[in-house]
Amino acid sequence: MPLVSRPRLIRTIRFILYGLIAITLGGFLFAWSGLYSVAASRGHFALTNAILTFGMRNSVRTHALGIEAPQSYSDDLSALGAAHFHDGCAYCHGAPGVPTDPIAQRMLPPPPDLSTAVRDWRDRELFWIVKHGIKYTGMPAWVAAQRDDEVWAIVAFLRQLPTLDAAGYRELALGGLSIRPQIGREIATTEDTSGAMSACARCHGADRRGPKSHLVPVLHGQSAEFLIAALEDFAAGRRASGIMQPVASGLSPAERERVARYYAGLARPGAPNRLESAAAVERGRELATQGDPNAKIPACMDCHNTAALNAYPRLSEQHAAYIVNRLRNWRKGITSSSATDAIMAPIARSLNEQQIDDVAAYFASTTASTSKEEKQ
């Protein structure tokens, strides 16, 4: 008696095989004939549209199932999202007080007005769309696929969007930046005319004003060398950020150097708000100055002091939220190929969550002068 009796199985397989061949052949003939029109001018039939929308909605829902959204979003996060939205999204989707560009309106399908459309989606679904984009619609994927933290910033802002009027939007997205009214000649002859899309100051602040969002680093008083290297890393894609990469790549090398020197020449905008607990600061100080030999963590202050190489950033008066986010990204294994990452990523990976909070609290609480004293 043979082990497996085969005939029925073979018949079924044969049936499926022939069916597949017939379908493939038919599909090929249709595509080959060119009968299908790919024009964007005509729009879809209502039925096609319904099917496509149905498919898209369910695809997003299913793929977003495993994503866990945060319970709430900080103001820092939505402010960061707003700033990027203005630069990267408003052109197609419009915003309160910012009309959608007519060219974008002629896309198929036309980009939806998000102040109403976001109500149809859960947070995790918005996250999925922003991160992955949507095929055949013109919605692009996020530039830096591994930077989930940035994508959440957009989601945080989108949740706030329906409540905003033109003034509120402007305050949030332009970060209090005042744009000088331009005269006709300037409008007619210069490149930068409107919206301050790429103005660094929208996020990083300028002169005595620090970043509006604490997730955005303070650039004031960093060494020019460090800032230039960072911009070059973003421009070349060595550092991953869906927010900074487009901005940095839009600048010429000379512009990058000028803007770096501008920020390097600024004084620190003043200590950030000190909400850190004294105990955390003390633990952070211990770790920053002594390291943790058991966990193979070197002392932070050996590199992040005022006498160190210009290639290293200064961390005193830096926002705790920014430091925590950066360290946590490294810990999650989000590493870029920049020269500074090569040094910091392995060190950051050996910190535990508590140590990350402590050390961030410590740096946020120090000023340039105290950190200098401690090293010397």
Binding site: M1, V4, R8
Partner: protein
């Protein structure tokens, strides 16, 4: 005693009897084949899967040999090599060596013993599917860069969460723990099968030697595997919950792992080797056409090996700085274990001398085995010499040594077995001509690959290195080894060609007794095994009784058909094989397959921390098992006649029942797990007595006393419950109440103990003592949960009218487990509350 010459059935058999037998035992067709539980089908699948893992692990070996062929090679990265060598060792040991032997046992034993099937067909099917699914997932981790890289021995602290943070080590721990459980399931099946389902009259001195080796193999598994199961439990608890068993800073000790691992790991080598030796003991007499010389000596050797191999685990730890005198004890034990091997080698040589060896492929593989294994044994004696081992340990000398022992001692006999037994399970025999080429390639390739490793080792090449600089000048020898490895692989590749060309698995009309062998598996077979089961009067029945085949086919011996309309086999007494009762066996069913898949899913989902999904799968798996158990305890029928007016009962309880024996073996497993735990507790105390608490910090003595009283009370209540079982199939409120009370007492004792420790301020993650105390509760908790499940099962059966004074196997097993759990609980209380009072 049954006389073979006066046939049980002298009259011609009814014509429909054979058709009925075939219908009852028919293999399900198409996809439903996964529901089959018959030992032949499962055995063939099992063997094929094990060979698949052998090939996969072999490919990993070739990758390693390519990497090492030249110095400073960049063919494999450091991390890839480390994963590959870890997987090679793990897969070869856990997914090939033990399973393939178990597979051969499941395939061959019933036929050899004259049984229709093994006593727990569903358990065998479960063990196989669990192994297949778990093994494939485990191997698959390699393709996702998730494979463990801590070596097959997984020494902490390298395997701790600090130094192996990824899920790789968890895959190893849970995957291996799970595959070991599957191995234990197989071992229980084999022990009960060999002891209780032999053909009538097959006394222990007439049992085929392979059955002897499988019996001892399974017995060793029962005592060796629990040690490593405990070790994997400890390490996983340390990784997941930070219980410091192996962390020196909190009173743990890295060497505890080594003690537990090698207490399993050394017997493991003999666990692998013994059945292979058993195969040789079957092949040699056939090929020389003469009985085995020194049958009794070989049995002595097997039993001695079984014991001695447990006394030399420390010889893997000669370099850990243990006092010289301790080392010498284990050096002595290592010498002792050489004796039984010597006995067997010279017994085979004596058998060859007493007959005339035929030059067949199995003979060649056996001769190759004798030479290679002898050399491996001799280098084994060398590394048993402590001073020499200080140099040879963890070098390529040891790599050469254990490949000589394992490949020589196990793979060569296995290939001999493939060629020898193929005609019993295939329409065509494997090719004798190709077989000789395969042997030549494998023998030459093996020696070319592994002999030079002795020298590279002496030249200072350590194991587990992914590369070496040219200046060491190990390159020529390594290149030779690599060439040899590919020769060996070529031999195995041709073997695969031969298998594809010639192997046509079949249940009947096989190539048959082409070698003129003498044991029962060479009689005409079908899915149901033998048509009728003879009374055995000799160790070589086919030689002493040439007409046996014809008589068997004609149904002239016992049980020529199915009497009850179900699958059945004769259960005999363990020593003299007197028929005792007729066992009705379960047929095909989905439950073993589904339960295995769900158990595998439970473990693997746990590894990737999908706890909810894992729990769902686990519960479904348990549900499957309950469904399967529900139908297994069949209603007793009146005694039946199996031929020659031999009336056998159809139901047995107590120590007569095969289920009782299986439960006893399972309790031996649990007991040896607990002894490993007691050893670990005391061992950690000797290492760090400072973390053991002062008297004042201990939980008040009243708690353990109450706990102990509850335990004893529970046992008493359960015995009363036994008395009130109804005489007839109906439910009994008194029984249900008492059984529930007993379960509650057991649970209460555990809860009180844990509460006492917690209120005394003890925490598992604080130090090794705390971890060990909660570990006792953990182990007790596992058993308590099992008792609760079985109590629920017994209560449900009572409600369904399926439990009474006569039909009470479900209750008997609960009773055994319950009393054992009480005993373990009392010992635990004594240890955890008593020992610190004694020592402090």
């Amino acid at each position: 005693m049954v006389d073979a010459v006066s046939y049980p059935n002298t009259l011609p058999r009814p014509s429909e009897e054979l058709a009925q037998l075939e219908a009852i035992w028919a293999t399900p067709g198409g996809w439903r084949i996964v529901t089959d539980v018959n030992n032949t089908v499962i055995g063939l699948f099992y063997t094929a899967t094990a060979v698949l893992f052998f090939l996969l692990a072999g490919i990993l070996a070739l990758l390693m040999r390519l990497q090492l062929a030249v110095p400073s090679n960049t063919f494999l990265s450091q991390e890839a090599y480390n994963q590959i060598f870890t997987m090679h060792g793990t897969v070869m040991m856990f997914l090939f060596a033990v399973p393939v032997v178990e597979a051969m046992g499941i395939l061959l034993l019933p036929q050899m013993l004259g049984a229709r099937d093994l006593p727990f067909p569903r358990l065998g099917a479960y063990a196989f599917w669990a192994y297949l699914v778990g093994g494939l997932i485990f191997f698959g981790t390699l393709f996702f860069d998730l494979a463990p890289s801590g070596g097959w021995f997984m020494y902490p602290p390298l395997s701790s969460s600090q130094f192996s943070p990824g899920p790789g080590a968890d895959f190893w721990l849970l995957g291996i723990g799970f595959i070991e459980i599957s191995a234990i399931a197989g071992a229980i099946e084999i022990i009960v099968g060999v002891l209780r389902t032999r053909a009538p009259g097959m006394t222990l001195d007439q049992m085929p030697m392979f059955a002897w080796t499988m019996l001892i193999f399974a017995g060793m598994i029962v005592f060796a595997f629990p040690a490593v199961i405990l070790a994997t439990l400890l390490l996983e608890l340390e990784r997941a919950f930070n219980w410091p068993f192996f962390i020196a800073a909190r009173g743990g000790d890295a060497l505890l792992w080594q003690h537990l691992f090698w207490f399993f790991g050394h017997p493991e080598v003999y666990i692998i080797f013994l059945p292979a030796a058993g195969m040789v003991s079957m092949i040699v007499p056939t090929m020389c056409a003469t009985p085995l010389v020194g049958y009794r000596l070989i049995v002595v050797a097997l039993i001695a090996t079984g014991f001695f191999s447990f006394g030399l685990w420390v010889h893997h730890m000669f370099t850990t700085g243990i006092p010289a005198l301790s080392l010498s004890f284990f050096s002595a034990a290592s010498m002792a274990v050489a004796l039984p091997s010597g006995i067997q080698v010279f017994a085979w040589i004596a058998t060859i001398a007493s007959g005339r060896l035929r030059w067949t492929t199995p003979s060649l593989f056996v001769l190759g085995f004798l030479v290679i294994f002898s050399l491996g044994g001799l280098t084994g004696v060398m590394v048993a010499m402590v001073p020499f081992d200080w140099q040879a340990h963890d070098t390529y000398f040891v790599v050469a040594h254990f490949h000589y022992v394992l490949v020589g001692g196990m793979v060569f006999p296995l290939f001999a077995a493939f060629y020898y037994w193929a005609p019993a399970f295939s329409r065509l025999a494997l090719s004798e001509q190709l077989g000789k080429w395969i042997f030549l390639l494998m023998f030459a390739g093996f020696n070319v690959a592994f002999f030079p490793m002795h020298l590279t080792g002496l030249m200072g090449m350590p194991r587990r290195v992914y590369t070496y600089p040219a200046v060491m000048q190990w390159d020529v020898l390594n290149m030779i080894s690599t060439i040899g490895a590919f020769l060996l692989a070529a031999g195995i590749a041709i073997f695969l060609v031969d298998v594809v060309r010639s192997l046509r698995p079949a249940m009947s009309k096989t190539a048959g007794n082409v070698w003129g062998a003498a044991t029962l598996e060479w009689l005409p077979n079908n899915v149901y095994g033998l048509r009728s089961i003879p009374a055995v009067t000799s160790a070589y029945p086919l030689w002493h009784h040439p007409q046996l085949a014809k008589e068997i086919e004609d149904g002239r011996h016992f049980l020529p058909g199915s009497i009850t309309g179900l699958r059945e086999t004769i259960v005999t007494s363990p020593f003299d094989a007197t028929p005792q009762y007729l066992l009705r066996l379960p047929g095909p069913g989905w439950t073993p397959f589904l339960a295995a898949v769900l158990t595998a899913a439970f473990f693997m989902l746990l590894t990737v921390k999908a706890v909810v999904l894992a729990l769902i799968c686990g519960l479904l798996g348990i549900a499957m098992t309950v469904v399967w158990m529900w139908g297994s305890d069949l209603k007793p029928l009146p005694p039946v006649d199996i031929g020659a007016n031999l009336k056998l009962p159809t139901y047995a309880t107590g120590s007569l029942s095969h289920a009782w024996w299986a439960m006893i073996v399972l309790l031996l497993v649990a007991g040896s797990l607990y002894l490993s735990y007691v050893f670990s507790y005391l061992y950690l105390w000797t290492v760090s007595p400072q973390v053991w608490p002062r008297l004042s910090a201990l939980a008040p003595i009243a708690y353990p006393i109450v706990s102990a009283l509850l335990l004893v009370l529970g046992s008493a209540i359960l015995e009363i419950a036994r008395r009130v079982l109804p005489g007839r199939s109906r439910s009994s409120g008194a029984f249900v109440g008492l059984a529930g009370l007993a379960a509650a007492a057991l649970t209460g004792a555990l809860v009180i103990d844990v509460l006492a420790q917690w209120r005394a301020g003890l925490r598992p993650e604080s130090d090794a003592h705390g971890a060990m105390v909660y570990m006792a509760a953990f182990l007790q908790g596992q058993l308590t949960i099992a008792v609760l499940a079985m109590t629920g099962f017994a209560i449900a059966r009572s409600f369904a009218g399926r439990l009474d004074r006569k039909r009470r196997v479900a209750f008997d097993n609960l009773g055994l487990l319950y009393h054992y759990t009480v005993g373990q609980g009392l010992l635990g209380l004594l240890l955890v509350h008593g020992f610190p009072r004694l020592a402090g």
